[in-house]
């Protein structure tokens, strides 16, 4: 099963992950050091993408638990790149936020009052997430 939808294709585009190559051997899950912490397991990431169930992927806890150690990418015999897929899901999750969930320039002075030591880079990185 190979579902085409916008989010699924975006994940494929961003990650370069080729979900159809997966032969469900489980070596990604066997290699994952964070397996126990995850609600959706590495080998399931690929199935979710194949099914086009991207909302579930973006809402799962696992995308925040992945350490990006890339053990799954290294061990995968089919070059599916599960960790990169997760990274793409994380990115889409952030992009999916509605605009008012992000910081606006007007809010910056208040933040600086709260913590004058807040690093400039952090503010800049928050702005960078206004990706269309």
């Amino acid at each position: 099963m190979h579902i085409q939808n916008d989010y699924a294709d975006q994940i494929r585009l961003i990650s370069g992950s080729q979900d159809l190559k997966c032969m469900k051997c489980g070596r990604c899950s066997a290699s994952c050091p964070q397996y126990e912490e995850m609600d959706v397991r590495p080998h399931q990431f690929v199935s979710y993408l194949q099914r086009g169930d991207i909302d579930a992927l973006m809402d799962c806890e696992s995308i925040w638990k992945c350490l990006s150690c890339f053990a799954c990418v290294e061990r995968c015999p089919r070059d599916v790149k599960p960790a990169r897929l997760i990274e793409a899901a994380r990115l889409l999750r952030i992009r999916r936020q509605s605009d008012d969930e992000f910081i606006t320039p007007e809010q910056v002075p208040a933040l600086l009052e709260l913590d004058p030591d807040i690093p400039q880079q952090l503010l800049a990185s928050v702005f960078r997430k206004y990706v269309k």
Binding site: M23, C25, R27, S29, A30, S31, H43, P77, D79
Partner: protein
């Protein structure tokens, strides 16, 4: 002026679906020299062929063009049809409007135009065709088998039984190959050596079989029916005629700690050794790299104890040159190197390959058949088998193909362990269990149902050697659980690959090889045991992963094909060979240098040049050796060389017609 007939085939809808046949027919009618044009749904059918024959006779045609499929498919069919008439079969050309036209185009107009252009080109070529007459070449009634494993041995036996002499060349000191290393065979669990050694003995004593062990192919010349091959018999340092195989030499040899190849490095051998007890020939070899006599000049104990005085430190490599009609490549496979599979901790003595496991369960093996951990010599409490190690894997370190035999031998191993030691826990991590074959799936199910082998759908991600045990992290995909557990022994179902030397052998024989170094068949379905090079045949796992029954069945098929060739007294040769115009030849020798078949030599020849007689040094073509490759034609600086059936005039006429 030729009287040409053009026959356009529909090939059902294969051609007619994309090409407008009527238009091709109409266009062909207006080509110069065309006297007759016809079309038919299946020109290759009997009715189609007789239509061609009838037209040749009725319209007194001097040349014909068949616009149909690739000449690879049916050129022979139509040439045979032409030969049944008064027409010389080489007055026929095929225009390939299927593989090179209808099958590769979608647009009907484009395809029709191309079909017309290809037909036009073939018509233009036929204008310059001349009748050609095939020659004959001799057949040497002797076959050479490269590789003395079960494939080579059974193929050689079948050929020898038909009455032809067969030589087997084997690179190791004994025939037997990988099968000799195995303990039991699936799915019958019969002892591998017990069924193999009688075959080896049959080969040894067969009057038509000569066995050259510890030997390699040095060089190859010639072609189908007439190969001249030189074999290098490496110096054994033991006189094969004198040696009685008593074994006193290796009993006394002081160098005893060389990892033995036959035991996959688990057992030790001496510097003078026979690889295994039933080795054929039962004559040891001296491993000169490790022998004290060769390293330091001292020792010579083996010579002292050898009663028949067979030890010969002075022995040199011997070159044997022999003529053969056919060559069979049966070089087989070997497990891949696991150097780059760090996650499985193969460096640990208790992580072994399946072939090493075979040696460990074998009564003649390094542990006398006792299942122990190499590290502490203790019996393991649990064994973990990991499938698909290096198979079905796109990484550079691995092989993309399925190694085919692993599922079955792992089921066998698991069953053998459980049978001998029911208390050992056996786990098998698999991706898929693939068991197509007679009684294969039943065999695997027996491992699960009768012997209680625990099959886990999933893979092992990491192995760590803790010293007293091995720690593994794996996954059970059906339970969706990660497994972190200890095990005592790990067996890796290692991918198999062709032996390295096959590249060199294939190169010498001009036989083609694929990206994985497996030999390529002439046709994957219809010529499964022939290489695309005439006279070179294939047997066994050098073609791709195969189990023993498949190998033996295939080797029998190979033998049948070889016997078919050797039974002929003469071979009909292709008349499309090099042709020299002596008046243009300037004697430069350029063609002689490029000829891959050694078919060109230079001789002083009397030339009558417009009444002026002169002796000139010019090229002479050996018609039996020339294979018509055309290398000389493109090399000749003076345009003296041409290729019959593909002359420069014919080819330029074709190009002109296409460009018209």
């Amino acid at each position: 002026m030729q009287k040409i007939g053009v026959f356009v085939c529909h090939c059902g809808t294969n051609i007619a679906g994309t090409v407008n046949i009527d238009e091709v027919v109409e266009n062909a009618k207006h080509e110069p020299g065309v006297k007759y044009v016809a079309e038919y749904p299946y020109m290759c059918s009997e009715a189609g062929q007789s239509m061609v024959q009838k037209a040749i006779d009725e319209h007194d045609l001097s040349g014909i063009v068949i616009s149909a499929c690739s000449p690879r498919m049916h050129e022979t069919t139509f040439r045979r049809a032409a030969a049944r008439t008064k027409l010389n079969p080489f007055m026929l050309e095929m225009a390939n409007i299927r593989e090179q036209c209808s099958w590769v185009h979608k647009d009907k107009e484009e395809a029709t135009n191309k079909a017309h252009a290809l037909t036009r080109a073939a018509i233009a070529k036929v204008h310059h065709n001349t009748p050609l007459f095939p020659g004959e070449s001799p057949v040497t009634k002797r076959a050479l088998v490269i590789g003395g494993g079960i494939a080579g041995v059974s193929c050689a036996l079948d050929i020898a039984e038909a009455g032809f002499v067969v030589d087997i060349v084997e690179s190791t000191p004994s025939i037997g190959g990988k099968m000799a290393q195995l303990d039991k065979t699936f799915p019958t669990l019969d002892c591998s050596a017990c069924i193999l050694t009688p075959k080896m003995v049959d080969a040894q004593f067969h009057e038509n079989i000569n066995i050259h062990t510890y030997s390699e192919i040095e060089s190859v010349e010639g072609f189908v029916g007439d190969f001249t091959i030189t074999i290098r018999k490496k110096a054994r340092s033991v006189d094969m005629k004198k040696c009685t195989g008593c074994g006193a030499c290796y009993d006394k040899c002081p160098i005893k700690k060389i990892p033995g190849e036959f035991d996959e490095g688990l057992g030790m051998r001496t510097a003078i050794y026979t690889p295994f007890a039933q080795a054929i020939p039962n004559v040891p070899v001296i491993d000169r790299e490790h022998c004290l006599k060769f390293k330091t000049g001292k020792c010579g104990l083996c010579e002292t104890v050898c009663a028949p005085d067979a030890i010969d430190f002075e022995q040199e490599d011997e070159l044997i040159t022999e003529k053969y009609g056919a060559v069979i490549i049966a070089t087989g496979i070997t497990p891949i190197s696991l150097d780059k599979f760090g996650e499985y901790a193969y460096t640990s003595p208790d992580v072994i390959t399946s072939l090493e496991f075979e040696r460990m369960t074998n009564a003649a093996g390094p542990t006398k058949g006792e299942l122990i951990r190499i590290s502490d010599k203790k019996k393991p409490k649990s064994i973990t088998f990991i499938q698909c190690v290096g198979s079905r894997d796109v990484a550079v370190r691995s092989k993309t193909y399925c190694s085919k035999i692993c599922c079955m031998y792992t089921a066998k191993h698991a069953m053998l362990v459980k049978d001998k030691y029911p208390d050992i826990e056996v786990n098998v991590f698999y991706i898929d269990v693939r068991t197509p074959g007679k009684n294969f799936d039943e065999f695997y199910r027996r491992a699960v149902e009768e012997y209680g082998v625990n099959y886990i759908k999933g893979q092992v991600g990491k192995v760590v050697d803790n010293g007293d045990s091995l720690w593994i992290q794996a996954v059970d995909m059906l339970d969706n659980k990660q497994i972190k557990t200890k095990t005592d022994l790990i067996v890796l179902a290692t991918a198999i690959e062709p032996v390295k030397s096959v590249r060199n052998i294939a190169g010498m024989l001009s036989a083609s090889i694929d990206t994985n170094n497996f030999m390529t068949e002439a046709h994957p379905k219809l010529k499964p045991v022939e290489s695309p090079t005439a006279g070179v045949f294939l047997a066994g796992a050098c073609q791709g992963p195969k189990d023993i029954p498949e190998t033996v069945a295939g080797a029998g098929a190979t033998a049948a094909k070889v016997i078919g060739l050797l039974a002929k007294d003469k071979l009909i040769t292709n008349p499309c060979i090099a042709d020299l115009d002596p008046y243009y030849c300037n004697g430069c020798s350029a063609c002689e240098k490029v000829c891959p078949y050694g078919a060109i030599s230079y001789e002083d020849t009397e030339i009558n040049d417009h009444g002026k007689k002169a002796i000139r040094r010019i090229a002479v073509i050996n018609k039996a050796l020339c294979q018509g490759c055309g290398a000389c034609v493109v090399t000749c600086p003076s345009g003296a060389m041409d290729l019959l059936g593909f002359s420069n005039r014919q080819i330029t006429a074709e190009v002109d017609a296409i460009c018209r």
